[in-house]
């Protein structure tokens, strides 16, 4: 089981340590960890399981903060990693983001949360809605209160009613004057376009996100019009497996507030809404690059915030890029970002320019990969449709809302 959790800032400072068992872990392990990082570089940071001389380390990196957990004995590594991810999720939800200052400013809350989330190295309460009842998230009111009175406890002194019930994700009896339930289909499109311009892989990763504000103990069923297109899925613990197995219906008692009901994958899509056509020619030390971006198949809704970013190869010494639409920025680490926004009706956005190669190099032999970003509101590109959402007992003043959106996930266009 986990013995200790460290939170390390992006400069290598140990911001917080929480010992979990009697076998205390000395901070020096963090020094070792940081030394290794310095000597081995980024690929070390990407290594989630590390066997150090004294401990096994599990790490995840979120927004520059490294969550480092130590263990000396065999344990499922995914359990540690999932738990750290959960901690990071909860913290960023509580603090409204994650960075060094936020953690230092709210270190008491971080301690209290960690203490509630893990007991003796084994996760205890990780359900966010229950945690929120035990430890109040910092908000403006409590901040003001603490400024004025100098005292505001954020620790609840009663046990959340849900913690012990058979639906541990739900407080026993929330009350709302108006009952609302929102279902969002949030989809991400992962695609790979190879150097021949061929669509090698195109699939949708989607989530059904819900926001439920329902009185009492509602029992919901959600059904899809075309569940057969779903390739794989994963469910929130509240979803009952039986009804899904038998007739592909989601039956569940929802947690209170926002949560992710399920995630799914739809594979083998034939088309992408946006095309990217890069071209590059290199000759005698300079390259001419031109990239065209346009709409391939109109989804029926506007495609927003289109961006294209790529990393210039090391051998490029300077770049002169311009576009007929949107803005182009090149950062010092040679990351180039072209922000297009919406595609104008009258012209096709085009990025063009020249890259100067390092002296002595005739032609470019390594090519960057373009990462495309876009967002389409109001449509789920997978074609998944929600048929209906039923409540077993219909509360008064019920409002049901449905939305959908698609954005680019890992959308790679190789040059």
């Amino acid at each position: 089981m986990l013995q200790c959790i460290f939170l390390i800032s992006d400069s290598g400072e140990v911001m917080l340590e929480k010992q979990l068992t009697g076998h205390r872990v000395d901070r020096s392990i963090c020094a070792w960890f940081w030394d290794q990082y310095i000597s081995q570089g980024d690929s070390f940071k990407a290594l989630p399981v590390i066997a150090s001389p004294t401990h096994y380390l599990f790490q995840i990196v979120r927004d520059g903060i490294t969550f480092l957990a130590c263990s000396q004995v065999e344990m499922p590594p995914l359990m540690a990693i999932e738990f750290l991810c959960r901690v990071a999720d909860v913290l960023s939800e509580y603090l409204g983001g994650l960075n060094e200052d936020l953690i230092k400013d709210n270190f008491i809350i971080v301690y209290e949360l960690l203490d509630e989330m893990i007991d003796n190295g084994f996760p205890l309460t990780t359900e966010p809605s229950i945690l929120k009842e035990m430890i109040a998230p910092p908000n403006l009111v409590s901040k003001m209160l603490s400024v004025v009175t100098g005292n505001a406890s954020n620790v609840s002194d009663t046990l959340p009613s849900g913690a012990g019930s058979c639906v541990p994700w739900r407080p026993t009896d929330p009350k709302y004057s108006s009952n609302e339930v929102y279902v969002d289909l949030v989809e991400e499109m992962d695609a790979i376009v190879n150097r021949d311009g061929e669509l090698v892989k195109c699939e949708i990763y989607g989530e059904v996100q819900m926001n439920s504000q329902l009185t009492g103990f509602p029992d919901l069923t959600l059904s899809f019009a075309n569940p057969s297109i779903l390739e794989d899925m994963r469910f929130h613990p509240c979803v009952r497996y039986r009804p899904w197995e038998s007739h592909q219906v989601l039956s569940f008692v929802p947690p209170d507030g926002e949560f992710k009901l399920m995630s799914y994958r739809v594979k083998k899509l034939k088309n992408t809404p946006v095309y990217v056509k890069p071209q590059i020619t290199s000759d005698s030390g300079t390259c001419r690059i031109s990239v065209l971006v346009g709409i391939r198949s109109d989804p029926g809704k506007t495609i927003e915030s289109i961006t294209l970013s790529f990393q210039l190869p090391h051998c490029v010494s300077s770049a002169d890029l311009s576009s007929n639409h949107g803005t182009v920025t090149i950062l010092s680490n040679k990351t180039c970002t072209w922000t297009i926004g919406r595609i104008p009706k009258d012209k096709t956005p085009c990025l063009s320019g020249t890259l100067a190669l390092e002296p002595g190099l005739e032609r470019l032999h390594v090519f960057p990969t373009f990462k495309l970003g876009f967002k389409i509101m109001g449509i789920a590109l997978s074609g998944l449709r929600i048929e209906k959402l039923d409540l077993q007992t219909i509360p008064p003043r019920l409002y049901k809302g449905f939305r959908a959106q698609t954005r680019a996930g890992e959308f790679d266009v190789r040059l």
Binding site: E17, A46, P76, I81, N120, S153, N194, E245, E410
Partner: protein, 1115 residues
Amino acid sequence: MFNKFGSTSETLSKASAGLLRIGTDAHLYDDPEDVNIAPLLDSKFESEKCEALKRLLALIAQGFDVSNFFPQVVKNVASQSSEVKKLVYLYLLQYAEKRPNEALLSINYFQKDLGDPNPLVRAWALRTMAGIRLHVIAPLALAAVSKCARDPAVYVRRCAANALPKLHDLRLEEHASAIEELVGILLNDHSPGVVGAAAAAFTSICPNNFKLIGKNYKKLCQILPDVEEWGQILLIGTLLRYVVARHGLVRESLMLSIHGTNSNGFCEKDGLGRDLTLDKEDGGKSDSFDVNLVSLVSKCYIQGPDEYLSRSSCTDTVSSAFDTKETTSIAHNEDVKILLQCTSPLLWSNNSAVVLAAAGVQWIMAPLEDVKKIVKPLLFLLRSSSASKYVVLCNILVFAKAVPSLFAPHFENFFICSSDAYQVKAYKLEMLSLIATTSSIASILREFEDYIKDPDRRFAADTVAAIGLCAKRLMTIPTTCLDGLLALVRQESFAGDFESADGEAGVLVQAVMSIQTMIERDPLRHEKVLIQLFRSLDSIKVAAARATIIWMVGVYCSLGHIIPRMLTTITKYLAWSFKSEASETKLQILNTIAKVLISAEAGDFHMLKRIVVYVFELGEYDLSYDIRDRTRFLKKLLSCKLASHEPAEDSVASQENIAAHVVEHVFGRKLKSVSPITLHNRFYLPGSLSQIVLHAAPGYEPLPKPCSFVYEEQDQLSDLDKQREAAADLDGSEESSETGDENGSSDYDSESSNGSDFSSEGDERTVSNDANDPAAPLIQISETSVSADQEELRSRRALDLWLDDQPSTSNQTPSALNSNQSSYAKISIGDVGSRVKPKSYSLVDPGNGSGLKVDYAFLSEVSNVSPLHVCVEVLFENSSAEPILEVNLEDEESMKVADSSEQTLVGKANASYNNIPTLIPMEEISCLEPHQSTKRLIQVRFHHHLLPMRLTLHYNEKKVPVKLRPDLGYLVKPFSMSIEEFLATESRLPGMFEYSRRCTFDDHVKDSRTENGKDKFLSICESITLKVLSNSNLHLVSVDLPVANSLEDATGLRLRFSSKILSSEIPLLITITVEGKCTEVLNLTVKINCEETVFGLNLLNRIANFMVEPSSSAT
């Protein structure tokens, strides 16, 4: 320009952050010590205390040691504010182990909190108390945990389950069985949340105590989907281990598929089998390789790789290792079926660790054709966070190595995204090269082509290596692939001129190596490729790549027609460039020219010889001693060749020349293809840490040996379980009901402790001892039979009567008990006293003591010296043939004192420390004739109720150190009290001062067999009393008879004993309640009420232990 902008944005964000920091604890973190913390801690305002504690936590967070505030912080544990309490607990857990004495101060508050009506307060107190890690309070914590294990609130019970590993961690030998018992109770809990935590406790405390699982295996399976995710992970593993230990592996499963193919060939019939055979057609020997690997994997799962590898010399026995007896079939085995059923929906879990654990079960246990269903969920995990992606890929790789066909259709999932981390990319490449088939290789190679142009050159080099691997696996890999690689070599060698980056060199080296692996298969066909490579030698500048090509010159020097003709030119070139080469290449050149010379044809021989001589001369004066050595070695070896003039002539001469023979052997041999099974083959259970780090992490356990656990079905028990399940189902259906929590967890018996953990001490023996125990009370029971619901009333009345009639010894017929008429039953079991046989222990064995045998037994007499002393009767027996002289026992310490010259001084010091001597010595035995035995009485004062006393035995002028072990049962003295006093005292000692344990008792079974005529209740009472009084010094207060109508049911029988602790005169009450049928093994609940909790708990354990020991009469 960009930097400038960056700095302004940074300051901006800082400014906005500063604004946001108002009202947070920021200032406390930044300057925790800007005020004096100590006075704040003593403040009477909660807010100031709170601030002080926050400052301390800030210091802890920053790695400072603030344990010096401990005493002040501990005081605040009594605070009513939940926040202060929480902060104090956080602080306490950090430092309690460092400051044990001060930590003890807090115990009373925890005990108080444990009785709090608020479950959160109880849970916090329990968590902190168990986490404090002091041996002194371990018994208290254990008592608290066992109390909380029956708490009505689920949350508290969960915390109790979490607390068990904390206690286990302290390595308390004497409590081990009690802890395991609690694990069993909690595993049986009807709330899924508790079961999850209990599963975690089980894995860390007693992962191989399958009895606990066996009892409620089905229930655990049913509850599994409702258990919270973290518990699921561990529970899945536990259930898998149980099934393997109980039933062995499944015959139809992948793990044993090798038998399937060998024996009845069913593998051919099902779908996957066909896949495998398909694979065979296009993949050559890949199929057989798989089967070997699968059997290797399954062996590793069972035995652990280290164990397996150590005996891998006898690999031919691999396949026959699994006995058919140790396997099971899914068709006939209900347990396996349930396990597979209950884990398969978990493949949809949101938690990737759960998915992987469930997939592991299916992988090991599911029939071949069902294993397929783990593929998609596993692939879906690749879309989760990059950290879990890495771990999942590691595991998928193992699956794919064993059965590539599983993942072959899903190759697109392993295409590489630019955002993947380097390690993930490397694993994906390995995966792609593993699962490539003839149908997919085209698209995979097209992807590879893209990857080669990636800016990350390390990744590009890996890609080139992966192409080589693909070529190795698939015979029919297109020759275009080779051309592509050659083009790459040309291009890289060109680019290499301008770039000194390691990455480029890596790509080139890998490209040459990949070409080499491809050529290796069919060198003759690729003659042209070789020639091209040799020609490009001049343009390739990377030493490692050059060395590889030069090596190839040596190996293929006699291949085909063209190459032999090129040899002189190549060797000339090599000799010419020798001076400017890197040492790696130089060594290779030396080897190659040696090979070339050996296989040289007559025409070239003289020319080559001259070149070789030239190179050797260069080599002998090289700067590197490696090269000088190698040159000299080769020169010596080849001396015969160099001396001769004709290659043919030489080969005749070599018959006599050993050196030439060696040369032929070293350089003349053809290449042998390396068998792929020599890949690194360490496999660990899927989802384990060891599989990721590729060594057995501490605590890693392979699957248990198949069928190593034999589970005896107990009809009675399983009936009981069924009832409970029914009850649990009922509870589950009324969703919000939380009633009946209590009985669900509390009335499970302690099956696990049945005799298994109580080892009787080896040297215990019982000597018949006729000395009557004077304290053995005369027992009289009066009974009025009344209706069952008036139990309490009845026993009171009976006791009243008993008190009135105390002196009477009249004995009425016990048959009155079963009649329904109201009548008194006055039963005397006064004769028990005569049958009490104090247990005797051996102090000196005749073997050690040269014929002198010394036994001792504790007496129930109260010492006349001081209340702290215990009377011990020592029996000396001379079993030798010669008399033993001057036998005496003395205190070891006083002996030392007597020896030293400072006797008086130390004596005084001793006296001032404690003027009661530890040993009242016995009368010396001047002479012990052969076969004579003598008893002596000594009185001992034990320093601690658990620690033995060191004594010295003198005889025949020898000294032998011996240890006198205290018997807890005799460190108390009978304390006569009435039943009213007893009940009053009992009511004053509730909560923490009350603790109970369950045990079994079966002495009466033998008794009732021998004495058929006697009343059953009476005989049970007698045997229990006898057992208790033979092992401890107590006063029997009262006996309550059961109220059940059935004569057979002894449930409700209750005996009360009272005593006082010798050292502290604190009263100690013992209540023994009986459950079960008269003629069967009874379940006893032993309860102790005592203020001295540590002593009480230890005595409780002692009683529970001796109750289950076989009766002395039987031995």
